[in-house]
Symmetry: D2
Subunit: 361 residues, 4 copies
Amino acid sequence: MSSSYGENLHLTIFGQSHSPAIGMTLEGIPAGEQIDFEALQRFLERRAPGRNAYSTARKEADAPEFLSGLREDRTCGVPLTAIIRNGDTRSKDYAPFSAVPRPGHADYTANVKYFGFQDYAGGGHFSGRLTAPLCIAGGICLQILHRRGIDVISRIRAIGDVEDSSPLTASTAEKAFPTVDEAAGEAMQAAIARARAQGDSLGGVIECAVLGLPAGLGDPMFGGMENRIAGIVFGIPAVKGLEFGAGFAAAKLRGSQNNDSYTVKDGRIETRSNHCGGILGGITNGMPLVFRAAIKPTPSISMEQDSVNLETLTEEKLRVGGRHDPCIVPRAVPVIEAAAAIAVYDALLGRKKELREEAWT
Amino acid sequence: MSSSYGENLHLTIFGQSHSPAIGMTLEGIPAGEQIDFEALQRFLERRAPGRNAYSTARKEADAPEFLSGLREDRTCGVPLTAIIRNGDTRSKDYAPFSAVPRPGHADYTANVKYFGFQDYAGGGHFSGRLTAPLCIAGGICLQILHRRGIDVISRIRAIGDVEDSSPLTASTAEKAFPTVDEAAGEAMQAAIARARAQGDSLGGVIECAVLGLPAGLGDPMFGGMENRIAGIVFGIPAVKGLEFGAGFAAAKLRGSQNNDSYTVKDGRIETRSNHCGGILGGITNGMPLVFRAAIKPTPSISMEQDSVNLETLTEEKLRVGGRHDPCIVPRAVPVIEAAAAIAVYDALLGRKKELREEAWT
Amino acid sequence: MSSSYGENLHLTIFGQSHSPAIGMTLEGIPAGEQIDFEALQRFLERRAPGRNAYSTARKEADAPEFLSGLREDRTCGVPLTAIIRNGDTRSKDYAPFSAVPRPGHADYTANVKYFGFQDYAGGGHFSGRLTAPLCIAGGICLQILHRRGIDVISRIRAIGDVEDSSPLTASTAEKAFPTVDEAAGEAMQAAIARARAQGDSLGGVIECAVLGLPAGLGDPMFGGMENRIAGIVFGIPAVKGLEFGAGFAAAKLRGSQNNDSYTVKDGRIETRSNHCGGILGGITNGMPLVFRAAIKPTPSISMEQDSVNLETLTEEKLRVGGRHDPCIVPRAVPVIEAAAAIAVYDALLGRKKELREEAWT
Amino acid sequence: MSSSYGENLHLTIFGQSHSPAIGMTLEGIPAGEQIDFEALQRFLERRAPGRNAYSTARKEADAPEFLSGLREDRTCGVPLTAIIRNGDTRSKDYAPFSAVPRPGHADYTANVKYFGFQDYAGGGHFSGRLTAPLCIAGGICLQILHRRGIDVISRIRAIGDVEDSSPLTASTAEKAFPTVDEAAGEAMQAAIARARAQGDSLGGVIECAVLGLPAGLGDPMFGGMENRIAGIVFGIPAVKGLEFGAGFAAAKLRGSQNNDSYTVKDGRIETRSNHCGGILGGITNGMPLVFRAAIKPTPSISMEQDSVNLETLTEEKLRVGGRHDPCIVPRAVPVIEAAAAIAVYDALLGRKKELREEAWT
């Protein structure tokens, strides 16, 4: 189903940009898991707008209200629902887009899909704002994973042409601009500033690694870790590409270069390289699970664009007003982490089903 | 679940490389769809080995036996099951890999996941041979889509460093080596021959386009066409990357370059470019749905490799015997088409649920 | 997953008796369906307590707030979420039940399942109050079905030993006490009054019929209409039995009596009797779909009962305080209708996938 | 989806009465589970026809061939597929039923659902023969459950008017006619013989108990054990009613009678009675899980019946030829056990996900 994810967890995201609220329901978290609400709030703030010069100045209070699923600060085993109220609902700002779709947005495809009944205000259910409830779910999963020794780290790998090629080995969560190489980060911010000055926008690449995973997670074929991560990451607006380990570069390597040979380190099996991104046959091998997502440039630009009036079927010029991020990539970093955490925790719960009970064999 | 795919269709792939048979069950095809068995067989032969100099000489008779779901040559509405018998089952060739995993294969991860109970012979359920039943399912979907004016075409986009950058506009199914640019195809074959001579292997990129799709297919968020295609394509062994439209290159474009502006052509809304690969907000816009999959080099190489004995936890040299494709990419082309067809037909069936009944409103 | 239902629709019920809110998310309703909020409110009031002498005097304002999924009064195609705030949350009334489980309630099983982390207040997620969001979802489906000529009617068939054996042919929704035979209804109310006077409770049987269904709904085996209705009706607290058509009585008939012979009426195929309850092989035959659900007597009684202290593992006497319905059956009637409507609409959406497109064959 | 069942297991049943084969695919059984093929065969023979005077004389060799999912006699963690070849396929015996549907069978509903493309031979996918693959899956689950101290027992509770009211406490699997009270069993057999002599048929009730279950299995609402068992048991042809514990009789009890009071026995919490059938709030309480299924009389009778010609829409007399069971109930007993075992094992796997990891808290 469209807005649901998970095999063992079951996440549903609901809401539109200008509906009374947005939110999420998460089923399948076992009872007794503690939630640190302050840490969750700090995580959500990494996604929130208005944090930096390069992001939109709109003010959104992304403070979730938990409606169900808790007894005090612990899960009680039943569906967990949290909502975020939308402050400035039913704005008239977006009315024109019902007839003249913004290029690069879902305005036109939503119009066709929903036979004109879509909620077009603010992009409706397609708004990037819907990544906030994804971050609530992911933020909770991150806390649960962390207690099991599993951590998700990520960074901006590229903005436009500027790349951060230093190895990703530690969290960038505390950084105002989440790169490993700070010089690269400054160059990226300069590029964003240039694009903004021209009324244009930039995309980029986010790299994510999951550390501390046991070997044996995931399933063959359509249940592979790649499929599971793709199933949620492509649900983040603007993601148009995804690669694991060496990814597209692997296609240029020879087998003798790309194969990760095995070794023993501290009595534990490891691989010398990690071109496979920690996944073989869809299943984790205990090395870091590494992936990169390509984010297209924000489609909302202030330059004039060509579009079509859907009612008259004539071409029309369009200028997207309002304040918009010239580059969504920095705010998408925690969203990618959230998505990875949900996919990994879902797989971890599935793994528990397979474990052999000593007394049962 | 691991080996199942689909929301409206429901495909399950079963079998191991050396089990009595491999096969597939496909639920959800409406009753009355005709199957052209000869066309299906021709499609399966595009995947079969031994077809070219660059593929392994093993002989496999990939002739499916249909066990259920048909009345003569038409679907009767209930689960469709077809199997392919495995000729040379229970071979002893693969016994050593139970203790010493082949780098780049799923030997080690399967060993961990299944607690040593995995069927290691020939790679078991992780064998590339399991793409044959995927092609049975996909071949049937391709026929059904074709009758509705929808066609899936694809080609080898790159082998190692050699690229075919001519535009993909027509099927390459009839070609012995499926590129658009034949000179590029010859260079690719030469590269494969060189790798083979050195006991090494090559990977590549496959590009696929779905033509004739209506706008409005797919769902928001986790039900987007990207998610759906990723969910099946990452189930094909060796796929490590996937991108839609401009994909990773979009991350380097500006919004003003990447946005596809709308125009009207023959009374129909189109976009001037197709950087989005025919998908906006997860939903088709009526332009060709375009994606590329990165295929890693075949992990089976005849060069000596480093591995570890899982029983003794000591390092061991390993040499993979037998005959193996130095490059799996050409045989993977119809598999990618099959996967795309299944994902698209599944979405098309889902779309039917939403259609408005004139008499009902 | 526990609190989710549906194959084409996707319903999730969330909330606990004393959590900030209870609610539901319903995915899969096509865009453009109109909701009559007043009619929905009237439907919800049929379930609300305090309506009659025989139901508890607690006052609950079951007015749903819609958070998402609408554009004005029409569905916009994305998940529909509605909540009902809980007024008197975090009450201390239920604290003792965490240690001494009430017989007939889920207190003990929830304690085991959730390792003591359950939300025991007011029965938590197991409270009958959770049927309110089920009625929101069902009330919407009832409106949609009604526009397609499909109506769900039901009545109290029995309370304790008193039976209403008049045939069910029309809605009892307007009646204060929903029986067909009013004399039987009065006898039932008298029986409830007697039980209440003794601090005891009564159960009963609800009969439901879905009229106007087309033939051909439902799927073979586990997708049969019986399975689908059972899958939701057994989710209503206190339902312990379910039968279709002649049901358990059919087990006493001979084949020659139970088989429903075919006839033609007004050019339409019908059956002379309806022992099969409108379902053969899991699929509707166009006759009324008829089922009956057995409701156990309310477990909350004011008489003293034997229980066990879970902490000390010693037997303890228990007396359940507060105000409780001596018979939940009357309030369960609209809940059964809601459940039937959801199951039927889900099947109807599934049926649309199979319909043959004229231009496509 | 129609012919699939399970949340943690995933069972698909395929085949038609006269297709080349029938079979099942079962995903989700963890690797390493041993299968005793001889015990499985003995279990399948309890369902096979021709075993007694009261069952049809047709000879079916219900010997499954395992195609995948095993390494020798143990599951290897991937989909398990087994088939049974159909001997006398494509018989002409059933041709007339395509136009004149047999009362009580799915002939008419299948004709509508599949737009005339159904496989009508032998009842197609709706044939009782499809319970054979259900018994393969269930027989395997029974073995796995037995190793964990869980056993499924059952018996004929009633045939027509004859009832076996002795308590069910032990397996009847070894009995030629599976009742507890042998006198009742003889009276039942006499009743069947009378019905057969008159060309008529009889139905009955089967009672089943699952012993040794831990408390805490199942989920609230739609994931309750009642819903789960109903979801599979109503997939068995001819089941028209299902009740748990006291079931429909509970509707006639007062709360003070129906509530099962708690007690402590050998340091373990039990209930003094078991009116709830071992399930409260959908979750097991550790007492025997008890249910009864109503089986309608076999619709195939040799007496003349009224039907309708679907092509001419005129009434026609019909006489069902061939040899048919005058009472399917005895052969359905192991099928009910199989269904219960699958539902219970599925819930047990789900339970493993929730278990608290000591090192993780």
